[in-house]
C-alpha cells in the first residue's frame, strides 16, 4: 500500500478510535449517573421535589416542609430529586457537584444525589428565564 493511502487510513481509523472510545465511556458513565439510585439498590433514599419558578427554587421535603433557595441534606444519604417548573424552563445547576438539569413545566425529571463531603454548595439557574434570572440563586447545605 502506498504511503499516502496508509496515512489516510491511519487518520480515519485514528479518528474512529477516539470517537468510539468517547462514545463507550460516555454511555457507561451516563448510564451510571442516570440509574445511580436503582444501582444503589436497597439503599434507602429520600425524595425531594425541586420546583423552579421565576425567580426562586422551592424544595418540598417528604414531610411537606417547603423551603426556598436552601436545600438541606444529610451527608452520605441518597436523595432522589424530582425536578419540575411551574412557569418557564429553568436549569438546576450545582457546579461543584457537577449537576445541571433542565426543569421544564409539565415534566418531572429525576436526578440522584448523594454528597459525601459536608459543606455549602451554590445553586444557580443555568437557563435564562427572565429579567430576574440572575437572582435565582440558592444553596445546598450538607450537614455532617
Amino acid at each position: 500500500m502506498e504511503r499516502g493511502r496508509i496515512m489516510e487510513m491511519a487518520t480515519i481509523l485514528g479518528a474512529t478510535a477516539v470517537l468510539a472510545y468517547l462514545a463507550v465511556v460516555t454511555a457507561v458513565n451516563l448510564y451510571a449517573i442516570d440509574s445511580y439510585g436503582s444501582l444503589a439498590g436497597r439503599e434507602n433514599y429520600v425524595t425531594i421535589k425541586v420546583v423552579g419558578r421565576q425567580f426562586s427554587w422551592e424544595f418540598i421535603y417528604p414531610n411537606g416542609t417547603r423551603t426556598f433557595n436552601t436545600l438541606t441534606l444529610k451527608v452520605g444519604q441518597l436523595y432522589k430529586l424530582e425536578l419540575t417548573s411551574v412557569d418557564v424552563i429553568h436549569a438546576f445547576y450545582i457546579p461543584k457537584l457537577g449537576i445541571k438539569y433542565d426543569t421544564v413545566p409539565g415534566f418531572t425529571y429525576v436526578i440522584w444525589l448523594k454528597v459525601d463531603t459536608p459543606g455549602i454548595y451554590d445553586i444557580y439557574c443555568a437557563e435564562y428565564c427572565g429579567t430576574g434570572h440572575y437572582l435565582m440563586l440558592g444553596k445546598v447545605v450538607v450537614m455532617p
Partner: protein, 77 residues
C-alpha cells in the same frame, strides 16, 4: 525524516499547551460525591480526547503553514 520529526513535535507541543491550559484535565472542583466522580471523570476524558484531536489538527495546520509557506521562487506571479 526531519519534516516528520518537526511535524510530530508540533503536535506534541500543541497537546502539552492544551493540557497545561486545562490544568492537565483535573476536575475543576474537589470530588464531593460519587455522582460528581462520574461527571468529573467524563470531564477529564472528554478534555483529554478533545486535546488529542485538537493537537493532531492544529499541530498539523501550524506545521503545514510553516513548511509550505510562500517563498520567492514559488507562486503564480
Amino acid at each position: 525524516m526531519k519534516d516528520y520529526m518537526i511535524w510530530s513535535l508540533t503536535v506534541v507541543a500543541v497537546l502539552l499547551i492544551w493540557m497545561w491550559l486545562g490544568d492537565w484535565g483535573r476536575p475543576p472542583y474537589p470530588i464531593a460525591s460519587p455522582l460528581s466522580g462520574y461527571v468529573f471523570s467524563l470531564y477529564t476524558i472528554v478534555y483529554v480526547g478533545a486535546g488529542v484531536v485538537t493537537a493532531l489538527f492544529m499541530g498539523s495546520m501550524i506545521f503545514f503553514v510553516y513548511r509550505f509557506r510562500e517563498r520567492e521562487s514559488y507562486g503564480e506571479g
